[in-house]
């Protein structure tokens, strides 16, 4: 027996997983071979298609009918036009056409077509005008026709050259030499070619990396967890004297290896295509000549991306590990990928890597990768990014080890349909939640546009309470409980009520901080910053304002969200999921992305208060106080310390009213 059974078990299991992967020909094809061959083929095909279509248009003969009698030097213009061959330039009499018509009549259209010799031709008309300039040029064409568009392009080119010539001639005649020539700007890009190429690559690389890593690792994750559970080999594995930790670690490592390998192969394929000039990166002004991003930068980029890769694989294992069958596991992949793409996509925006962003998982590494490729990496911040994101990855791995304990891995009962049959109450409540979000957005938005004050009042008092009652009635009936108890309308303990109210100052300060921080990453348009809604309401007396913006939302929103919706969610889901759903729905109900995060946080705190105290009233009081403080303004900092007291009151008093 070896001295470290855990390590030898880890090695044995990892070796077996990789061997199984290598022997799975289909997985290798899909995850490795196909993408590697695909990129060059796609790029080559694209290029060929583009050049063929361009060529064919350039080679087509276009028809231009001109009436340039009003223009002097028209002969020169016709010469320039004829240089844009293959072209037919025909002189016609177009004086019958209306100057700058407001709307084209069918007769006009027909006349244009006749003069141009068909719908694919264009008519160029020089018209004499009164005043300066004495001549105006008009081009009549059919915008839906490819050849007419091509003709138009060539006419534009010829006209440009004509104008340049004429201007130079005029200036020379009047002034001597063109004074503006000395002021002509020549743009010189000081960025080195590597920087330029790296910059363009860095914008899209993180997104691609997330997609490829998840796709490559998913096959291994699915077969290592859900697949083995389905095949019955997982149980056999669990009876071996290998610690569960080694098991999970080995499977995770196999996923990481597979994902990373796929990522490397795909990246290599893309880079080789780039180098061979098969395609050009988007966003660049350069030609599609060969670009080679230097190896040092690529290695640095890989290094900074590594914690994100670990985190992604851990999330993959977490998502797939709880699935009972292969198919069930596959359903979790797309949502996971979408969720992970959001922070990774930050690299494509014009945001700088600062200390705060470096802390955010996936976002920090993405920005660091972009900067590394660009050649402008801020080393201290990048180091902090590594530390923070390694911590995130470690957290995820720890969670992985905990969630996939033996007993849960072995529980085989039920299929997907069964698991969705449970949680009836929570799904019912969520449906009502989304209905409310939709109605508030549509109906409430209309009402508030009509009259801000009455709109808010009606939305709160007329829209929400009936929704709350209907939804609570369904939940109560199914749970064989009273509506009042479903809505948590029970008398709270005094400590809880007081504690909740005292939380308000800290929340208000937090909201302000979040808002300020948010403005950095999500700049507010000035209209929203003014708060056009509040503009009208600001003119009301204070008491009315408090009623409308503090008391009304407190009562009505709490009744619906923390009463009816939470009442349903609570019966099926644990605290964490209740908090998550409440944050999402409450945030969405306020209909503005700028207020989403602060509102979501408020939703979570209110949910926690209700879950803790078992009653709705503390939440109502907190909400009212919080809104009130936002209106009146929190100025003295010591008031925040009251919140500490509030927190203690809520935390220490564990008894709560049975809410049923």
């Amino acid at each position: 027996m070896s001295a470290r059974p855990g390590v030898s078990a880890f090695r044995a299991i990892l070796a077996a997983e990789l061997l199984l992967l290598l022997r799975d020909r289909r997985a290798l094809m899909l995850a490795v071979v196909l993408p590697t061959l695909l990129y060059p083929l796609i790029f080559m095909g694209q290029r060929w298609l583009q050049s063929t279509s361009r060529r064919s248009l350039e080679e087509r003969r276009v028809h231009v009918a001109c009436d340039l009698s009003a223009l002097d030097a028209s002969a020169r213009l016709v010469e320039l036009l004829e240089e844009e061959h293959p072209i037919d330039v025909v002189a016609v009499d177009a004086s019958g056409l209306e100057p700058a018509p407001a709307a084209i009549t069918p007769e006009e259209r027909a006349e244009v077509a006749r003069l141009a010799g068909g719908p694919s031709g264009v008519v160029l008309l020089a018209r004499a005008r009164a005043g300066d300039p004495p001549v105006a040029l008009q081009l009549y064409f059919d915008g839906t026709n490819d050849e007419a568009a091509q003709a138009r392009r060539r006419v534009d080119r010829a006209l440009d050259r004509f104008q340049v010539e004429r201007r130079a001639e005029l200036v020379r005649r009047r002034v001597g030499s063109d004074p503006a020539q000395g002021l002509a700007i020549t743009a010189v890009d000081v960025a080195s070619p590597e920087d330029a190429a790296g910059s363009r690559l860095g914008r899209i690389f993180p997104i691609l990396a997330v997609i490829v890593l998840l796709s490559g690792g998913s096959y291994v994750a699915l077969s290592a967890f859900a697949g083995e559970r389905e095949a019955g080999t997982l149980e056999t594995l669990l009876v071996q004297p290998a610690p569960a930790g080694s098991l999970v670690a080995a499977k995770f490592t196999a996923v990481l290896v597979a994902g990373s390998l796929t990522l490397l192969l795909n990246a290599a394929s893309v880079l080789v295509s780039l180098h061979a000039g098969l395609f050009a990166l988007p966003g660049g002004a350069g030609s599609s000549s060969a670009i080679f991003v230097d190896l040092g930068r690529l290695l640095a980029a890989g290094f900074f991306f590594f914690p994100a890769a670990v985190l992604l694989c851990a999330l993959l294992c977490l998502a797939v590990g709880r699935a009972r069958t292969f198919r069930e596991g596959q359903f979790t992949l797309l949502p996971l990928m979408l969720v992970c793409l959001v922070p990774a996509g930050i690299a494509s925006q014009d945001v700088d890597l600062d200390w705060l962003l470096a802390t955010i998982p996936l976002a920090g590494p993405s920005l660091a990768v972009r900067d590394a490729l660009r050649g402008h990496l801020d080393l201290p911040v990048a180091t902090w990014m590594l530390v923070a994101n390694t911590a995130w990855a470690g957290l995820a791995l720890g969670q992985l080890a905990r969630t996939l304990d033996t007993e849960r891995l072995v529980q085989n009962e039920g299929s997907e349909e069964e698991s969705s049959q449970r949680a009836v109450q929570s799904r019912y409540a969520l449906r009502w939640g989304w209905v409310a979000v939709f109605l508030v957005y549509l109906v409430g938005g209309t009402l508030q546009a009509w009259d801000p004050i009455w709109g808010v009042a009606l939305t709160l008092w007329v829209l929400l309470p009936p929704l709350a009652l209907f939804s609570a009635r369904g939940t109560a009936r199914r749970a064989k409980d009273t509506i009042a108890r479903t809505l948590h309308l029970v008398r709270p303990r005094v400590t809880h009520a007081v504690g909740a109210v005292l939380l308000a100052p800290a929340l208000a300060v937090l909201a302000k901080t979040v808002f300020d921080w948010q403005r950095q990453v999500l700049p507010l348009p000035s209209r929203v910053a003014q708060g056009d809604l509040l503009q009208d309401i600001a003119e009301l007396p204070l008491a009315m304002r408090l009623f409308l913006l503090a008391i009304s939302p407190a009562i009505c929103e709490e009744l619906f969200f923390r009463g009816a919706v939470l009442g349903g969610l609570r019966r099926d889901l644990g605290a964490v999921r209740c908090l998550a759903w409440q944050a999402l729905i409450f945030g969405a109900a306020h209909g503005s992305i700028y207020r989403f995060v602060p509102t979501a946080i408020l939703g979570m705190v209110l949910t926690a208060v209700v879950l803790r105290s078992g009653s709705l009233w503390p939440a109502i009081l907190l909400h009212a106080t919080y809104n009130g403080l936002l209106i009146v303004g929190v100025d003295s900092p010591w008031i925040v310390w009251l919140s500490g007291v509030g927190l203690i009151l809520l935390a220490l008093d564990r008894k709560r009213r049975r809410a049923g």
């Binding site: 080999t233 149980e235 072995v410």
Partner: protein, 276 residues
């Protein structure tokens, strides 16, 4: 509800010679309870205070209908599930305290156990041998021995996905005894096997018993139990209704056939016949 024990701990001989100690307890379970929460049915008590004991060189058969708790019992003993309360010891080691050590001493085989389709039998045995920490040279020797013993030489290097059910079963059995465990726990080992494969399994169990292994297996095929078992435990709705040799059970219920014995015991326990 404790069951009657078949063997007494001390057996005296007529000539007054030293009393022979019966073989020690390989498996010992006291008051095992297992409760879990099923989403549809709520709290389910799979085991309600089960007592079990099994000795070396003994074949103990756990008999009962589907849903009686056989699989749960075996999984608890194999350390796949943790008991809600009660204790269980395998080869003297507590399953809750040191599950890893328990797993070294048991060979577990279940009807639902699968094999890795893309590995060969030899690779499968090597893999599980490494997990048990058997040294490479010794492992080779044992694998060769098992391949010969079960007649698996000809397909030892063919992938498991291409093997027949009987061949796969042999590989599974070889895997379970590779590390020479003193205790074998088999969960409905003959499910889905034809006559030839079933009798091969029965023969194997017999041979192991002669070698001194303690074998605990569950089945709802009564004829197997009649043939193989030294003692039979009748389990129903998480409880052991009775334990004893076939003779003892026949005397107790007054029925000759095991099927009738079972029905009689269930009737006495007040349970309805519509189980599962």
């Amino acid at each position: 509800m404790s069951a009657e024990s078949g063997l007494s701990p001390r057996v005296g001989t007529a000539s007054g010679a030293e009393p022979k100690l019966a073989p020690r307890l390989s498996i010992e379970a006291k008051g095992l309870r297992k409760v879990y929460v099923d989403p549809r049915r709520g709290r389910v008590e799979a085991l309600c205070g089960l007592d079990l004991d099994c000795r070396a060189g003994e074949v103990y058969g756990l008999l009962g209908p589907n849903g009686a708790g056989k699989t749960t019992t075996l999984r608890v003993l194999a350390t796949l599930l943790a008991p809600t309360s009660g204790t269980a010891r395998v080869d003297g080691i507590d399953v809750a305290a040191d599950p890893l050590e328990v797993r070294r001493r048991i060979g577990f085989l279940s009807g639902t156990t699968g094999l890795y389709p893309r590995l060969t039998p030899r690779e499968t045995l090597t893999y599980f041998g490494r997990l048990h920490g058997i040294e490479a040279g010794e492992l080779e020797r044992r694998i060769d021995g098992l391949l010969d013993r079960f007649g698996m030489r000809e397909y030892a290097n063919a992938r498991c996905e291409g093997l027949s059910t009987g061949q796969r079963q042999k590989v599974s059995i070889a895997r379970a005894v590779l590390h020479d465990p003193p205790v074998l726990i088999l969960d409905e080992p003959t499910t889905g096997l034809d006559v030839l494969a079933s009798s091969a399994m029965i023969e194997f169990i017999d041979s192991r018993r002669s070698a001194g292994t303690c074998i605990l297996f569950s089945t709802h095929v009564l004829s197997e139990a009649e043939r193989l078992c030294d003692r039979i435990g009748v389990i129903f709705q998480g409880r052991l209704l009775a334990v004893g040799t076939l003779d003892e059970l026949q005397q107790r219920t007054g029925k000759p056939w095991l099927a009738d014995i079972f029905l009689e015991l269930v009737r006495r326990a007040g349970g309805a016949a519509d189980v599962g």
